[in-house]
């Protein structure tokens, strides 16, 4: 019987270091933390697989978009290390399941992390540091630098280790008799959360307005809102999906197309003296 593969402690440490120092590596609007995540998975994949083809195949899973609150989100990295370990041991763990878990967790954890770390923890820490800084005392900034880095380092390490343990335990459920049902449910959560992310982050509205008489006007936005709020946002999401998936257009070109649409939409239509989008500029 072949020996079960296990990620070495050195690879785990390196993976954690890659995440803690490089979670925002190559940050762009298109990819955000994707490459930071990919970089942190590289030591693990390198440790688990011998053949280059297997390594490439495993790393391809982590090229999918990822963005969360980096401190709390460390748990997701640890969790996928556990899942990757199971995949290397021949468990039927596909990329869709791993990405379903990632997508399902990144949104809620970002919300939690932003409220706990950015909204609560940092202001408290800064409050203490500002109190210590009274009268130009250098103890304030020194305290903040030491306290923030120490608490974050050990906190993230704890989250990573917890995630790794959780990933190992989750594997048993994911490959058990109800694995297909469980995986489809995970994908369902991921897709639903991505839908909510799209509605939260994308905001498109129109200023198209036709004035027929003094007391009679047609407002397109009101009509669209009556059909479904954020109808235009949904339409543009669908349009981008269609362009990228069906027409195989790269995200950068899609962005340029949207810029062109936005520019054209801002041109005032002659005769009716209105434009589709309002630039918000006043002269």
């Amino acid at each position: 019987m072949a020996e079960l593969k296990k990620v070495s402690p050195a690879a785990l440490k390196q993976s954690f270091r890659c995440w803690i120092y490089g979670n925002l590596t190559c940050f762009s609007q298109e990819h955000m933390q994707t490459f930071g995540y990919l970089w942190s998975m590289m030591p693990v994949v390198d440790d688990l697989y011998d053949k280059d083809e297997d390594k490439v195949e495993a790393l391809r899973t982590y090229t999918t978009f990822f963005n969360t609150e980096p401190q709390i989100g460390t748990m997701v990295v640890g969790l996928t290390v556990g899942l990757e370990e199971a995949r290397a041991n021949g468990e039927p763990m596909d990329a869709e399941t791993i990405n379903g878990i990632r997508a399902g967790l990144m949104g809620p954890l970002a919300g939690l992390g932003d409220s706990i770390i950015v909204g609560t923890f940092i202001p408290i820490l800064l409050g203490i540091a500002l109190g210590l800084s009274t009268g130009g005392n250098p103890l304030g900034p020194i305290f903040y630098m030491i306290a923030w880095n120490a608490i974050m380092y050990f906190g993230m390490k704890f989250a990573y280790e917890q995630g790794y343990t959780l990933g190992g335990n989750a594997v048993e459920a994911l490959v058990g008799p109800d694995s297909a049902a469980l995986r489809s449910s995970i994908v369902m959560v991921g897709t639903m959360v991505i839908g909510a992310v799209a509605a939260t982050w994308i905001s498109i509205s129109t200023s198209f307005n036709l004035q027929f008489a003094e007391d009679s006007a047609f407002n397109l936005q009101n009509t669209l809102d009556a059909i479904m709020p954020k109808f235009l946002s949904f339409f543009f999401v669908w349009l981008c999906w269609w362009l990228m998936t069906k027409k195989k257009i790269s995200p950068t070109i899609v962005m340029l197309i949207l810029v062109v649409i936005a520019l054209l939409g801002c041109i005032t239509i002659p005769g009716i003296n209105t434009s589709f989008f309002n630039t918000g500029l006043s002269y």
Binding site: V197, M228, F234, T245, F277
Partner: protein
């Protein structure tokens, strides 16, 4: 009113969504939860988990029934073989 398009989420759903109708239905449901009902991401995720649990139960039931049917068919085959 202005246009503000953030494309950072597009890649995430492009890779998640394929041509399956169910994917679009669940995507639209998540979208409606946030857009129409004003749910934030955590609330949307909690509701998604509830639906996922229902889906899990239904799928398990279906696969259980299938397994039961397969076991039943196998036992009938065995009986027929014994008769022969």
């Amino acid at each position: 009113m202005c246009i503000s398009i953030q494309l950072n989420s597009l890649n995430s759903y492009r890779s998640r969504m394929n041509t399956k109708t169910l994917d679009w239905v669940t995507f639209a449901f998540g979208f409606i939860l946030a857009a129409v009902m004003g749910c934030n991401l955590i609330a949307a995720a909690i509701i998604a988990v509830f639906f996922a649990l229902i889906n899990f139960e239904l799928q398990s039931l279906k696969s259980g029934k299938r397994a039961l049917a397969a076991a039943g068919a196998a036992s009938i085959d065995d009986e027929e073989e014994e008769d022969i």
